[in-house]
């Protein structure tokens, strides 16, 4: 098959200038003296040595993180920017859905703008006239087409721009994350349009964060990372590698964030301990789930309040309180294969707490609660509720709380852990200091996913669900 798009060793550099350049531009240029100020401070390689070949008729997906150079690559293909090095070859007419409705003039009617936009995209007026009805119908703008564009809502603006761009009838369609135009139904219509392009043997290049779409729609995918091609080929394989990498990074990020939160709180509580010896405050209620209803969303741990214990722990911001004979020195989350912050829904999770009591203690309770991002307590329990009668604790030991199957829906969760007296007086309370994320293949809603199944009588039939 012939290639629709060929890139060979393509690089694109952007120059970043120092702050002095903007201020005295003309002056320094005229005086010719400080030409140094005009020299770029730093060169950014947005796209670095990319070679690829997109066969004609293929649907090609480009994925990658923000700032990885995806849009620059698309602009290079569209011919909007020229490569610093290498060559870009595109065969056939190109339509780039990068900025929808670029060049719409607010003062004149949608009708005239469709013509202008079409001519800009390379159609002749006659071609536009032939497709005009279709464009307006696609954009669902029949009633407004003669009103000036400045009266349009942003959704109407985008729909009309999209409609013109997809009716250019290009051989190569370049799409940059523009499917968020309009409602669900309109998005489906756009997808249909792409599918039609594909059927007619046109080439589509898609830049998106919607990985599902790449998986469903594309024949080939490419993962761009910091301007370089990490891997390309079969979409499933590429996306698997990409998702794995994103998860690893998320894991590092969560770990780093937890570490930072802990350090901040440690510093805070050390300072508080130096200031005063706090009297035992009125005991907060035991960490029971029922009381979590009105809990506030967790706040940034850096804003942890000073040593005074809040009235209601479940409404408190992140922090650490208590000054008892039992300390929780370390809390670790573990998955099936060692320390983790990222868990698949339904996988196992272990919370390991290292506790220390310099002198023997006979009254102690350990508790944990899990909160979701909205601050709702998803689950809370402690050893006292579960009828463990304390006998003795001395020296350093480990408390492990094991969840066999973490049946939470996808989201970010935070953890409270505590050691306290049976009457509720805190020894050591860690509020929202530990974060973990739950991933799920299913987009189900709510908080908790009970183990479940569906059954149907034989007259109700479904296709086999995709796994």
């Amino acid at each position: 098959m012939s290639a629709a798009v060929e890139l060979d060793g393509v690089a694109k550099e952007y120059r970043r200038y120092g702050p002095g350049r903007r201020a005295g531009t003309l002056k320094s240029a005229l005086l010719g003296g400080r030409l140094r100020d005009l020299a770029p401070r730093e060169i950014l390689r947005a796209v670095d040595d990319v070679s690829l070949r997109i066969p004609s008729g293929a649907a090609f997906g480009i994925v990658g993180r923000n700032g990885s150079g995806k849009s620059t690559l698309l602009k290079l293909m569209a011919g909007i920017t020229r490569p610093t090095a290498g060559s870009v070859k595109v065969h056939g007419r190109v339509s780039a859905l990068i900025e929808l409705g670029a060049g719409f003039h607010p003062e004149i009617s949608g009708r005239e703008n469709v013509f202008i936009n079409g001519v800009m995209l390379g159609l002749t007026r006659r071609e536009i006239a032939r497709r005009f009805e279709e464009i307006v119908e696609f954009a669902e703008m029949e009633d407004f087409i003669d009103a000036p564009v400045r009266t349009y809502s942003s959704g109407m603006y985008m729909r009309l721009g999209f409609a013109v761009a997809v009716h250019v009838d290009a051989d190569v369609l370049l799409v940059d994350e523009v499917l968020a135009v309009g409602d669900e139904r309109f998005s489906l219509k756009c997808l249909d349009k792409f599918a039609e392009y594909k059927r007619r043997g046109k080439t589509t290049v898609l830049v998106t964060h919607g990985l599902d779409m790449v998986e469903r729609f594309c024949d080939e995918a490419l993962w761009l990372d910091a301007g370089k091609v990490r891997t390309s080929g079969d979409p499933r394989r590429v996306l698997h590698a990409y998702r794995g990498d994103v998860e690893t990074e998320e894991e590092h990020e969560l770990a780093a964030r937890d570490e930072k939160a802990r350090q901040a709180v440690d510093a805070e509580s050390d300072a508080a301990a130096d200031r005063e010896e706090p009297a035992d405050p009125p005991a907060p209620a035991e960490a029971a789930p029922a009381e979590a209803q009105a809990a506030e969303p967790p706040e940034a741990p850096d804003e942890a309040p000073p040593g005074d214990e809040p009235e209601d722990m479940f409404k408190a911001a992140a922090g650490r309180w208590g000054d008892g004979p039992v300390r929780i020195d370390d809390v670790r989350l573990e998955g099936e294969s060692g320390p983790a912050h990222l868990f698949q829904s339904g996988a196992g999770l272990a919370i390991r707490m290292r506790v220390t009591a310099p002198e023997e203690v006979t009254d102690f309770v350990f508790g944990i609660s899990i909160f979701n991002a909205a601050g709702v307590c998803c689950y809370g329990t402690n050893t006292d509720i579960e009828r463990y009668r304390p006998v003795a604790l001395s020296g350093t030991g480990e408390v492990v709380f094991v969840i066999d199957s973490l049946d939470l829906v996808e989201g970010t969760y935070k953890l409270d852990v505590a050691a306290h007296r049976r009457d509720g007086a805190q020894y050591d309370y860690h509020r929202l200091l530990y974060t973990f994320r739950v991933k799920s293949q299913t987009r189900d809603a709510g908080i908790y996913r009970p183990a479940h199944s569906w059954t149907f009588t034989p007259n109700i039939r479904f296709e086999e669900p995709e796994s």
Partner: protein
């Protein structure tokens, strides 16, 4: 450069459409609409006539009757020239999203600016023609209208188009990098206006100032318009006009080359 010109030719439909858009959009929403193209020069003319007949009657030379007509001959082309330059100094920056997001030869933008201002100039010509006819019928013209001189008019317009295009390409490209030009330009144009024989005749310029005046390209254009439309007698300024044509062509080539050199930087700088 030739390849670029050919590409420009391929985009003539786009240029035409955009010029039409500019012209249409300018008066959209106003009550008088299109009529403003005629009304604007007319009102401007009234203001200047008022200033130089009532406030400063001693300023003009004695032979300048009717003064309004004399003024009009220079003012109309000057408006085309100065508006084109002012607008094109901003046109690349204002249309940054086109340069960044659509495949689009950037020179189209200043060209469209110059051409749409030229359309306004051409629409002003009938107003000028009406004045001319009015005074001719009234017998108040300095001499009989010589139709044969009008043959020169398209040539003068063409030279002005070349000159304006060259300046516009140069300015629009440079302003992307040196935005100070935008502010400087407005004042520069005011100075240029008064340094050009538009509100006063060339005859009032002292002998010492003449060599300087000769270096002012727009002075030759203004004199040409005045000789063709206002003064009686043969068009004597044609040698200067030809020299200016050559200079304007050179300027247009230089302006386009500079524009072409800087072209790749536009999408990043605007």
């Amino acid at each position: 450069m030739l390849a670029n010109l050919r590409r420009l030719l391929q985009h003539r439909e786009l240029i035409r459409t955009l010029v039409a858009r500019e012209v249409k959009a300018r008066y959209r929403g106003s009550v008088l609409g299109f009529f403003w193209s005629f009304a604007n020069p007319l009102l401007l003319l009234l203001v200047y006539t008022f200033v130089f007949s009532v406030i400063l009657p001693g300023f003009r030379g004695g032979e300048l009757e009717p003064y309004a007509l004399f003024l009009f001959c220079g003012l109309l082309p000057w408006t085309w020239f100065s508006s084109s330059l002012l607008e094109s100094s901003n046109v690349l920056i204002a249309n940054g999203n086109l340069l960044k997001k659509v495949m689009f030869p950037a020179e189209i933008l200043p060209i469209v600016t110059v051409l749409s201002n030229m359309v306004h100039f051409l629409l002003g010509l009938p107003v000028l023609g009406a004045f001319l006819a009015w005074y001719a019928l009234d017998g108040r013209l300095p001499g009989p209208l010589q139709a044969v001189e009008l043959v020169w008019l398209p040539a003068v317009i063409l030279v002005q188009l070349l000159l304006t295009l060259g300046c516009a390409l140069l300015l629009s490209a440079l302003t992307v990098h040196f935005r100070d030009i935008r502010d400087l330009l407005g004042n520069l144009l005011t100075l240029w206006f008064f340094a050009t024989p538009i509100i006063y005749p060339m005859a009032l310029v002292p002998a010492g100032g003449k060599p300087i005046m000769d270096l002012n390209p727009f002075a030759h254009l203004a004199i040409s318009y005045q000789e063709i439309l206002f003064y009686n007698g043969p068009f004597g300024h044609w040698k200067w006009l030809l020299a200016l044509a050559a200079a304007s062509l050179a300027l247009a080539v230089i302006g386009y080359s500079v524009f072409d050199r800087l072209r790749d930087t536009f999408a990043e700088e605007v």
